[in-house]
């Protein structure tokens, strides 16, 4: 009872303070939460209120962390960069924070993880306790440690594949836009052919032919995703090559490489970076999907996709363990998209809408 009372008192005090100091959005947020809580409290009782309070607390915590992280970044970076960072919304700061955490986890995995990547330490499906933070998997390995190592494998592989896809796609796209003619046509039709095969089936086919070595996965995924990059790059560059400054550079006698590097690329980085973030998510999901199907990263290497599959049986016992690696994937995807959204907003005409 005292919780319910305290909860309402805190909310109403907060809204009153916000209204008094004239913070309109804060007031609206708090007070609508209060009103919603009245209804939910009547229907769901104290349990529902606790749930709302926890959720709101988590959100507030995330916001506070993002805020601090942004201020931290602003404080430690150079003035030119920190001026940009100041304009970042909290969502972008949250995204950056999550990416930062993942990066730390991936880089320092052997030191952070309490147990080895494929070390069997206890019996299968051991429950959670203070030693096994998230319990054990089907072979008795520590899930927490495997998630930490998984950050390194899954994210690292996806990053590598996306970068390669971008190198191939962007280069081909820029060349096609500058050269035009038969080269453009050849590239375009090649891209069409690759895109016409469903990506997962294509990947499965190729992996069954060439085996599942890591470098094979990277190259195949890169080839599958490069046509999307190619199309975007070519479209963006196509709008730039018709500009007068390109004509001026051509008339000056500049070569294609100079045109691409100095004149076109600086003007197309914004959409390309945004696309990089999106593609990264897709590539990540594709690799996770391949692992889930057993053709991606091979055991005993820890990988989030295969972890979901290996522990899938637990779902029928009402245990959420398989959802934890899935949640890690989802969180990273959301985080990357938050950052990309901000970059798009910052560097395109979107802000004028």
């Amino acid at each position: 009872m005292s919780f319910v009372l305290g909860y309402y008192v805190a909310l109403i005090a907060g809204s009153t303070f916000a209204a008094y100091t004239g913070r309109r959005t804060v007031f609206l947020m708090l007070f609508s939460l209060t009103l919603a809580s009245f209804i939910v409290g009547i229907i769901g009782g104290e349990g529902a209120l606790r749930f709302i309070a926890t959720a709101a607390g988590l959100l507030a915590l995330a916001a506070a962390v993002s805020y601090c992280f942004r201020e931290f970044l602003v404080a430690v970076t150079k003035p030119s960069l920190s001026k940009e960072l100041k304009t970042a919304p909290l969502t972008a700061a949250f995204g950056m924070f999550v990416i930062f955490t993942y990066a730390i986890a991936g880089i320092f995995a052997p030191w952070i993880a309490p147990y080895g990547e494929s070390e069997v330490i206890t019996q299968a499906f051991a429950p959670r306790d203070e030693n096994l933070l998230l319990g054990a998997d089907q072979l008795g390995r520590d899930i927490f440690s495997r998630i930490i190592f998984g950050a390194r494998n899954s994210v690292g592989l996806a990053l590598l594949a996306t970068t390669l896809a971008f190198l191939i796609g962007a280069f081909a796209g820029l060349m096609a836009a500058v050269k035009g003619g038969w080269f453009d046509n050849l590239m375009g039709r090649t891209a069409d052919v690759i895109m016409s095969v469903p990506s997962l089936i294509f990947a499965l086919l190729m992996l069954s032919i060439f085996g599942t070595a890591l470098w094979v996965i990277v190259i195949i995924v890169a080839v599958i995703y490069s046509p999307r990059v190619f199309r975007l790059t070519r479209a963006v560059a196509g709008n730039i090559v018709v500009m007068d400054y390109i004509e001026a550079a051509k008339l000056r006698g500049e070569g294609d490489w100079h045109l691409i590097r100095k004149e076109i690329l600086p003007n197309s980085t914004a959409p390309l970076i945004a696309e990089f973030g999106l593609e990264f998510c897709f590539v990540f999901l594709l690799i996770a999907g391949l692992s889930f199907l057993g053709l991606g990263i091979q055991p005993p290497t820890a990988d989030w996709g295969s972890m979901v599959r290996e522990n899938a049986t637990l779902i029928s016992f009402g245990d959420i363990t398989p959802l934890i690696p899935a949640g890690a994937i989802a969180l990273l995807t959301v985080a990357v998209n938050f950052v990309v959204d901000w970059m798009l907003f910052r560097s395109s005409g979107l802000k004028e809408v």
Binding site: M243, D244, Y245, E247, A248, K250, L251, R252, G253, E254, K262, E263, P266, N267, E352
Partner: protein, 552 residues
């Protein structure tokens, strides 16, 4: 002002202040402007870009564009206060009682619908007329606006009619509900002089016939002199002065107004061809050219450009002026004929030319916005040609860039590390000139370099080009449709029509009769400051014989 009685006030704006949002803060862009417009009165708003003309025009409809807000002041339209009216009330006025004619009709019409369907939209929406009634009315209006085939033209799509016709169709659309007030926002700026006349005549007639009040926004004084009863001059969001047209033209009070009036007076002495028989710098010989698979756009074009002289190439859009420039630079290889540089034939395609041949023909573009890479620093834009052609690096390159910046009258220390979007239109154009100069050419093609600029700024650019010509002995090929520019800077004139040279010769001869009929049409179509110029001209040509009719 005597023409309009005090009680017939239609629009009364008092102490209007509008803020614009930039760099995260609101800055005032209109700083307290008063405006009184009577029924049937046409008021011309003139000023440079950024003076707030269009913003006031929009405010007269109670409308603030995105990123602007009306911060204070009152806008009273026919007794109704617009600044406090609800959005719904204001919207009910627009289209029915206040109409708007935009600068670019091509961009303002929806390309997916027929003209007449767009015309009837407002009357049907406001239930003023039934669709059929409104269509008939549209045809009447088209006829009054002297559009060809008035009963049929409305059933075309916007891309199927010419620019001048589209602009008139838009005026007709604005009249569709017989509004009390029409706002014309630079309706003829994008048109050729010969087309401009038709539109001006049409607008003036229709405004007279229906006793509509109008606000006519433009930066062209000669145009506003034909259209307006009163003229209001604006500068940076403030009113400079307001007078009746005659008084304003004869006796401007303020210094700023006088400077606007004086713009067209710049003229430099005409040079003659060298008499010692030396070869021309650039010689265009019997050029035919066509774009891939298309019809011939250039037909037997020949002219010579001698060192240190300015040859103006004039003509309407589509006459082949810019194509000629593309042929000279080698972007469009000609199908017949040749380009000679100092007596030597240049390869037809630019990729076959060597660096020394490429550096001789530099271009300055019309739109400085698209001619300068927005992501490259000024020092690199100017430095690159110097580095590329002369192999300068390090301190020598920096010194050369500083020299060039000095040459175009921009302070090197201040602009060295800036990016093009941080500069004003005139400054960008100067950077474009510096880039051309960096190649140390003897010949520069200026493609409509001043037509996107305000008159005062344009005059500055012309003076700069003239000074550079004297200092560096440059030859210019000056592509323009503005004969006032030709008068001020050209030595020789080449008149083009439909891809052919119709007349060419020294400037003084070209401006003296007898002319080729087309030259005559071009010359007489240039608006003059005399407020009766349009009336006189129309009488001379006969009502049915203006513009298009005369060209065909």
């Amino acid at each position: 002002m005597s023409k309009f009685k005090e009680k017939d006030v239609l629009l009364k704006i008092r102490d209007l202040r509008i803020d614009g949002f930039s760099d995260e803060t609101w800055v005032p862009i209109i700083k307290g402007v008063d405006l009184t417009l009577h029924r049937g009165e046409v008021m011309g708003l003139i000023g440079e870009s950024g003076a707030g003309k269009s913003t006031i025009g929009a405010a007269a409809m109670g409308y603030a564009r995105d990123g602007t807000r009306i911060s204070s002041g009152s806008i009273e339209f026919d007794g109704m206060e617009l600044s406090t009216a609800t959005e719904g009330e204001r919207r009910a006025l627009r289209g029915s009682r206040i109409a708007y004619v935009a600068q670019s009709a091509a961009a303002s019409f929806n390309p997916a619908h027929k003209l007449i369907d767009q015309h009837t939209e407002a009357p049907v929406h406001y239930r003023i007329k039934k669709r059929m009634e409104s269509q008939e009315d549209a045809m009447t209006l088209y006829e009054r606006l002297r559009l060809p085939n008035p009963s049929e033209i409305g059933f075309r799509y916007p891309h199927q009619v010419s620019g001048g016709q589209l602009q008139r169709a838009m005026t007709a659309m604005a009249m569709s509900c017989r509004p009390d007030l029409i706002i014309f926002d630079e309706p003829t700026t994008a048109l050729d002089v010969t087309t401009q006349i038709e539109v001006l005549a049409a607008i003036r007639d229709i405004v007279d016939q229906f006793q509509t009040a109008a606000i006519y926004i433009t930066h062209d004084l000669a145009v506003v002199a034909q259209m307006a009863d009163t003229i209001k001059v604006l500068l940076k969001g403030e009113e400079v002065e307001e007078q009746t047209t005659e008084k304003m033209l004869d006796d401007p009070q303020e210094d700023y107004t006088k400077s606007l009036w004086a713009v067209r007076s710049f003229q430099r002495p005409q040079k003659k061809r060298p008499s010692d028989g030396s070869p021309p710098l650039i010689s265009v010989k019997n050029i035919d050219a066509a774009y891939t698979g298309g019809v011939k756009v250039l037909d037997d074009v020949s002219f010579d450009i001698y060192p240190g002289m300015t040859v103006a190439v004039v003509g309407e859009s589509g006459s082949g002026k810019s194509t000629t420039a593309r042929v000279i630079t080698g972007l469009l290889p000609p199908s017949a004929g040749e380009i000679q540089f100092k007596g030597q034939t240049l390869p037809k395609f630019y990729k076959d030319r060597n660096r020394d041949q490429l550096r001789q023909a530099q271009m300055i573009y019309q739109m400085a916005d698209t001619a300068l890479n927005p992501k490259v620093k000024i020092c690199d834009i100017i430095g690159r040609p110097a580095e590329f052609y002369s192999g300068l690096t390090g301190p020598a390159l920096k010194q050369r860039v500083d020299e060039l910046l000095d040459l175009i009258e921009l302070e090197p220390a201040k602009y060295y590390n800036r990016y093009p979007p941080e500069l004003s239109g005139g400054q960008k154009q100067r950077i474009g000139i510096a880039r051309a100069l960096a190649a140390e050419p003897e010949f520069i093609i200026c493609d409509e370099v001043t037509s996107a600029l305000d008159q005062l700024v344009a005059e500055g650019i012309l003076k700069l080009l003239d000074r550079l010509q004297q200092d560096l002995g440059l030859a210019y090929m000056f592509i323009t449709h503005d004969l006032a520019t030709v008068r001020s800077i050209a030595d020789e004139v080449v008149v083009m029509q439909n891809g052919k040279v119709v007349e060419q010769g020294p400037k003084d001869e070209m401006f003296q009769p007898p002319h080729h009929p087309y030259t005559d049409l071009l010359l007489s179509s240039v608006p003059e400051m005399d407020p009766n110029w349009l009336t006189t001209l129309l009488e001379e040509r006969g009502v049915d014989n203006i513009g298009e009719a005369a060209t065909s």
